[in-house]
Symmetry: C2
């Protein structure tokens, strides 16, 4: 959990994020990583203690960023609707800024070993809980549709977290435009405002 000093180490962590995302943690060998840097595998160990340190750096740095972004929102005096809007937008800002790291954070964290795995899960649960509390309070105030809290929280976060799979910052929309459209979609729904044609009653399959 110490600060990263050397620029070479930063390179390694960023490259690791890219490879871990594309191929998966276990499918990425230290020799893979080294080859992409133009060095030998053993040379990596001048900069890092072991492979897991790379994963650890990625996962915990992104987790800290996400938690920080919630701090700012909760400390202000906003309505729950505004809090949710900001939370969505800052969540998207973090993960679109670091798409590789975000995907590793979301999918590869499970390859952490104890005690780091438990610490990570605790951190992630805290983030989900704070998101969930905003939703709960908004539901209680009548600002949000009332529904199963856990379901809504995880569905919402999953929708947000899928952004790096299709979003490329270099073409089409920029991150803020995505944020605005996605916020609108999730909050207002897919149905056209003019014509509420959906039955909302599910026919049996």
């Amino acid at each position: 959990m110490e600060a990263i000093k050397s620029t070479r180490k930063i390179e390694m962590v960023q490259l690791a994020a890219s490879l871990f995302r594309k191929k998966g943690y276990f499918a990425t060998s230290m020799r893979d990583l080294a080859n992409h840097l133009g060095i030998e595998a053993a040379s990596l160990y001048s900069h890092i203690r072991n492979k897991e340190e790379l994963l650890e750096n990625i996962c915990f740095r992104l987790g800290a960023e996400l938690l920080e972004s919630l701090d700012r929102i909760e400390s202000g005096s906003l309505t729950y609707s505004q809090q949710l809007e900001f939370a969505i937008q800052s969540h998207l800002a973090v993960i679109t800024r670091s798409p590789d790291e975000a995907q590793v954070f979301l999918l590869e964290y499970k390859h952490l070993t104890e005690p780091r795995l438990s610490a990570f899960i605790k951190m992630r649960k805290e983030y989900e809980l704070r998101f969930r509390i905003i939703l709960r309070q908004g539901m209680q105030q009548g600002e949000f549709r009332r529904a199963d809290e856990k379901m809504v929280t995880l569905t919402l976060l999953s929708a947000l977290n899928s952004t790096p799979t299709w979003f490329r910052s270099d073409k089409g929309m920029n991150a803020e435009q995505v944020s605005a459209v996605l916020t609108d979609l999730l909050i207002q729904g897919l149905a056209s405002p003019a014509t509420p044609v959906f039955s909302t009653i599910n026919p049996s399959l």
Copy 2:
């Protein structure tokens, strides 16, 4: 792509799905699998050709199920809103019935090697496209809010695909209840119908 005959092989594929989901494809060894079945690793090869065959079976069987479920919907004479409702519900039915397989289908497919990987990606793209066409037509008809097609499709599917991470069929809601609530959430949105308090304009961060 041939039919599975032996029941022992079915056991193996199901167990593999469970382990691949929990630990990942590469982190699951043939010795892991064998131990859970109470046999030696080499004995697995009386039933399967190699490790990848397990992954192949999981991914392609689920893909076929999902595509079939769309066939039925497209063939009927339904409005696009109804088609979407049915598509959401049958998608959820498939993935809640096979949550382990679904997570492997979604996350571990990338460990397939060619030519299976390309075939899988083609299958998955076809499924996404057919989902997308329903959305496109619904937007053109004015039944759905107009927004970036690709974004809406992938966000919607990601929201649906997160269901196995929190849904346990044995407690709380059953699959059909989840389906109804989730359909409503995605189509009508999170905002309370009574009070449209959201600005839908994003403040800068």
